[in-house]
Amino acid sequence: MSSIDWSTDDTADAELTEEILHQFDEPVRTTYQATGNTSRWSDARSMRETFGIPAWDPDAFEYEGVIPNCWEHSWDAGGDLIAGGTDFLARGKPGKGKSTFGNYIAVRMLEANDEKVVWRGSTSRSEWLPLAPWTVLCLPKGVDVTVRLESKDPTDPAAELDIDQLERIVREVRRYRDPVDLNRNHLDAGQFHVVYPDPQLRGCQEILDKDPEKVYDTPPERDTLFHESDPANHWWFAWALARVNHGPHHWTTWICDEIGDIAPQSARKDQFGTYQKVELLKDLWVDARKFGLSIFLFGHSEVDIHQAIRHKIRWRIQMPGTANPTTSTDVVGFETVPMNYEMTDEFPIGKALMYNETHFDPFRWKDMPSPTDYKLKIEVGR
């Protein structure tokens, strides 16, 4: 029971809610992915036209192994190139374009590989809103969901929406039962999905139990590693395992903003088994590559992310505003760093540096502004 009176007059009335909803662009339901009509534009094309993103051109880059190899996924890469799923960690301070770049790379993945793109949704963030008109929003089934639109100016009233009203903002809302159900029945090739995790973690332990090779200590006073009392974002560990073990093994990209929230360097064997789950993610990394799951991570700094994960990441992106490393001691998992000079500290927003152990290449991305100042806050109840 709450002893505080939480009710407030600060909620927008129907008229104002309507006005706020009008600020969003109409969902796009005319593309090939939305209609099944192959003569229509694809989602990727439609997004590129909207934001003025030039077509993907791998020949524009000097080193095939850096950007083209990471972007273009292939089962049979040949030469020195890496086949299967790829990964990168993009590091940068807040406000340096990480989230915009996340939207941009989503478009590229749809375009270059007809990929199933999965954006990690989280209650406190909705940086995917530029792509909302094409978004398939995946929410857990059978749990209460509250939806609010909050202004960047916190003194403005917030609008509360019904789930049905969400389809004024996104193309479609789907409800999934568990990670396997999501992967098999709700993700489509060439589409952009924003997935909010199931706070009850239904099916997560079962997925782990099915894998005889993945055995971890259970947290004290518990028989299972996954439990409904875990933080909701632990669902992602089970989702990744489900995707690797139970497919379908179509090209899939997991865009994971603020990876430090899930796999922090400070992960310990706590009452939720956070450390064991980080280990699980580390152990499935190699299989993720083999089964076409690409994992694109974004974080503030190298040390935000657990080093077991950092060891596995083969590409790095340095966002502008912070100097790129010039020695390998700063990059866990790299024996060498190809840069001799600090460059990225003087890059403007919209330009970054990608590198692996042998080469580096600067690149640019397009700004993809959101049409409104309102943020979408989706809370999934337990």
Partner: protein
């Protein structure tokens, strides 16, 4: 036995010049340096030739060792006669120092230069201007040679001392130039204003010379190192002007 570079045909003289310069400086150091003064000028020379890649910690520790604030082997082992340690230990200390600091710095410098070092395909067989033993520029880069000379002059001027206050402020302008603008801060104003500082800079006693050496280690060498790093960075950009001016591609 070292292989003479003359035994090879030199297609990339810039790298060979760099190699020879560093080899000569290392050889001199191996035998022990003749004075603390030489240690400072030697460090300045090798700093330019490793394009500032020697660890910043060395420059941070040196003035403290010179003052006796920090116990360290660097000064004691580098300068003959050695105070308090035998010759064999000093020799080992020097060898260790070279391995630890110069080898990796040389590697970095080499990696930086190799991308822009020009290959002179026709020139190897003929006697011509590209032959490495005819090169006076550091790694054949005129701007590096110019700054090497500016730094050497500014450093020697300080170590020699000044005749009068006016010389100090002229010298400070040289320091700004020699450090490629990296030298800055209140200490520069204090040197002209503060009576004790002026006495140190103009005095001829041994204690004045020692204070000037500490000042050189504390204020000049770290800034010279930073300046050279900035300069080499720009020098590379000039060489690559054509590719640099092209904007990066959309990923």
């Amino acid at each position: 036995m070292t292989m003479s570079s003359a035994a090879f045909e030199n297609y990339r003289p810039a790298l060979v010049t760099l190699h020879n310069d560093i080899r000569d400086l290392k050889d001199e150091y191996r035998g022990g340096l003749r004075s603390q003064r030489r240690l400072l000028t030697w460090l300045q020379e090798i700093t330019v030739r490793t394009i500032g890649e020697i660890d910043a910690q060395v420059y941070e520790d040196l003035p403290r060792e010179l003052m006796g604030e920090k116990l360290g082997m660097f000064v004691v082992a580098s300068v003959r006669p050695h105070e308090g340690i035998d010759d064999e230990r000093a020799r080992r200390g020097r060898e260790l120092w070279l391995t630890e600091h110069v080898t990796s710095a040389y590697q970095h410098a080499f990696r930086t230069l190799r991308t822009s070092a020009t290959e002179y395909v026709d020139s190897a067989e003929d006697e011509d201007a590209h032959a490495p033993d005819k090169q006076s520029a550091v790694a054949m880069r005129p701007s590096l040679r110019e700054w090497d000379q500016r730094q050497a002059t500014a450093l020697t001027d300080l170590l020699d001392g000044f005749d009068e206050r006016e010389e100090i402020s002229r010298w400070l302008d040289d320091v700004i130039m020699a450090s490629y603008g990296e030298a800055s801060g209140a200490w520069m104003r204090e040197l002209v204003r503060d009576e004790v500082a002026v006495e140190i800079l103009c005095g001829q006693a041994a204690k004045h010379e020692r204070a000037r050496r500490i000042l050189a280690a504390d204020k000049l060498l770290p800034n010279f190192r930073r300046g050279i790093r900035k300069l080499a960075n720009n020098a590379a950009e000039v060489a690559d002007a054509e590719t640099e001016s092209k904007e990066a591609q959309f990923a």
